[in-house]
């Protein structure tokens, strides 16, 4: 699949934003967070800004962004619609939670409820985003049980890294935030590794023979394409990345999105290094996740390419 930068940016930024919201919600619920206006503005502001930036970027993917509101209507069947609904809905508890933190200086049942709702909405949003991909039967590398967990885990991990950074910046080293980052990064790393193992090990079951129904005569090969220059389908679904690049890029993801932020998060436990380590972790994570998202598209093979020269998918 063609890695669309608008979508990559969206899933990276919004993913981190929703992840951060999850941690902020937990933090509030478990009363782990400072109640200062500075912190609230910075942390919630960052989360909502990331989400908003991501959503805006996703509009750029649309041919008719001015009609984007229509996407909210088909939540009964469409994961994309559900994502849209959830993405917007999340603003409500998250916004109220932020406001409640500004207005009340304690955590009461209302704040607890808002925090719970924020966590749920953010997780659900990540889930719906994941399901958009995971539900596509046409793309084997996406139609995987691990697609959603990976997406959620990466969202949580990047959120946790950011959470750690904000806290480090404003309050020193809260050990829980560092540990949240460490654990979620490890989880994301393991899940992604498992995901890769799965897609590499899986049998490719769709063949050009089934796509054309011509297997009865033997091996099927394209003779003439319908057009000599690539069309939309080939531009959108025909993106291929060389095997050797995949290996390098996967290693890069492992290093930049998992190993480095994990190590730095550990380092951030040392108060002296907390801020710098958390900041570097966030930077590394951002680059790593962008590469991961890019790979997520680039590695994905659409079954339609069977009509355009692919043997199996």
């Amino acid at each position: 699949m063609h890695p669309a930068y608008s979508v990559i940016l969206f899933t990276t930024a919004s993913g981190a934003g929703y992840g951060l919201l999850v941690w902020l919600g937990f933090g509030r619920l478990l009363r782990l967070l400072p109640l200062t206006a500075t912190f609230t503005c910075a942390a919630f502001g960052l989360a909502l800004a990331l989400i908003t930036a991501g959503l805006c970027s996703s509009l750029a993917h649309l041919g008719r962004p001015e009609r984007a509101w229509r996407a909210l209507s088909q939540w009964r069947s469409s994961w994309l619609s559900r994502e849209g609904v959830m993405a917007l809905a999340t603003y409500v508890p998250a916004g109220l939670l932020a406001l409640s933190s500004l207005w009340f200086d304690g955590v009461g049942p209302l704040t607890e409820a808002l925090a719970l709702l924020t966590v749920a909405a953010a997780l659900l949003t990540l889930f719906t985003t994941g399901m958009i991909y995971a539900s596509l039967r046409t793309i084997r590398q996406w139609h995987q049980p691990l697609t959603v967990p990976v997406l959620i885990a990466l969202g949580l991990a990047s959120g946790a890294v950011l959470n750690n950074l904000v806290l480090a910046l404003l309050t020193g080293t809260p050990r829980w935030a560092a540990w949240a980052a460490i654990v979620s990064l490890a989880a994301a790393g393991i899940l992604k590794w498992a995901y890769w193992r799965t897609i590499d090990g899986e049998l490719r079951s769709h063949t050009v023979e089934a796509a054309t129904g011509l297997g009865r005569f033997g091996k099927v090969r394209p003779l003439e394409p319908p057009h000599t220059e690539p069309n939309y389908i080939m531009r959108e679904m025909g993106y291929r990345v060389a095997r050797k690049h995949v290996t390098t890029l996967r290693q890069l993801v492992g290093v930049l999105a998992v190993a480095v932020p994990l190590a730095l998060s550990l380092l951030s436990l040392l108060p002296a290094l907390a801020l710098m380590a958390a900041a570097l972790a966030a930077a590394s994570m951002a680059v790593g996740v962008v590469i991961e998202r890019w790979l997520f598209f680039a590695e994905a093979e659409h079954v339609v390419m069977l009509y355009y020269g692919a043997d199996v998918a």
Partner: protein, 258 residues
């Protein structure tokens, strides 16, 4: 509406005969031509006279080879929307722009409400949906919905443009939900098949397989006994060592002396 109708009154669709298609692209260009001014209008072209010409087409014709060596076959293969009974392209659509008509099963995109998110094209295994870069919305075969019910055109022309144009008669249009229809009977008689049935989208369009060859494997027919003046026992000259020319002349003489 993105949810699928529980059932459709008819299942209108195409039957494409791979045994007859010569790959002339008439169905592709006539489709482009009709729809450039029809329901799917515009169908824009990018860089039409430049270095990278490409555009939106609702129907495209491939050619494949199957098998090896002399036993192999060349098969021309037109591909357009199959108007699936249970298509993901409809259910994934966030806006409801993509829908399946309850009346006849035609799968359409509403160009007024489509946001161009492209998700439906990702969901279609058949490559039947093409995003129109110039128009910002998704395009697909309309089954010529603006022809088949069009009271402004002649009754015999109320068929899809591609079927109307196809010079070899390789394209058939009809109600595949009606087992008595001509298209259903054709499918039954010729072993029509679904593309990628494992996706379970239950395409309405069917493909008719290329027929078996009648070539080197075939037995030669017996030598025809040519009409003879009198019944003297068949087409062979009396056994003789004369060369073929002499035997031929002897036979001709006999033929001519009737």
């Amino acid at each position: 509406m993105t949810t699928l109708p529980a059932s459709t009154g008819k299942k209108l669709g195409l039957v494409i005969d791979l045994d007859t298609c010569v790959g002339c692209h008439a169905c592709a260009t006539s489709c482009k031509e009709w729809n450039s001014g029809g329901y799917a209008a515009p169908l824009t072209d990018q860089d039409p006279y430049g270095v990278d010409p490409h555009g939106t087409w609702l129907n495209r014709v491939h050619a494949f080879e199957a098998g090896e060596g002399t036993a192999s076959r060349t098969v021309n293969f037109p591909r357009s929307c199959l108007h699936c009974d249970e298509p993901d392209c409809v259910t994934v659509c966030p806006t409801g722009a993509s829908y399946k008509r309850a009346e006849d099963g035609i799968v359409l995109v509403n160009p007024e409400t489509c946001i161009g998110c492209k998700l439906c094209s990702w969901a279609c295994p058949y490559g039947a949906r093409e995003y129109d870069y110039g128009h910002g919305v998704m395009k697909k075969c309309t089954l010529c919905v603006d022809r088949i019910y069009n009271s402004e055109i002649l009754a015999e022309d109320r068929i899809p443009a591609c079927v109307r144009a196809c010079p070899t008669g390789a394209r058939h249009f009809g109600d595949l939900g009606d087992p008595e229809s001509a298209v259903s009977e054709l499918v039954a008689a010729r072993g029509g098949f679904d593309l990628l049935p494992e996706f379970g989208m239950r395409p309405v369009n069917k493909y008719l397989p290329p027929r078996a060859r009648r070539d080197a494997g075939a037995e030669p027919p017996p030598v025809v006994a040519m009409p003879r003046p009198s019944d003297d026992g068949g087409g062979q000259s009396p056994a003789s060592a004369a060369p073929a020319v002499e035997r031929l002349f002897a036979w001709i003489d006999e033929m001519l002396s009737r």
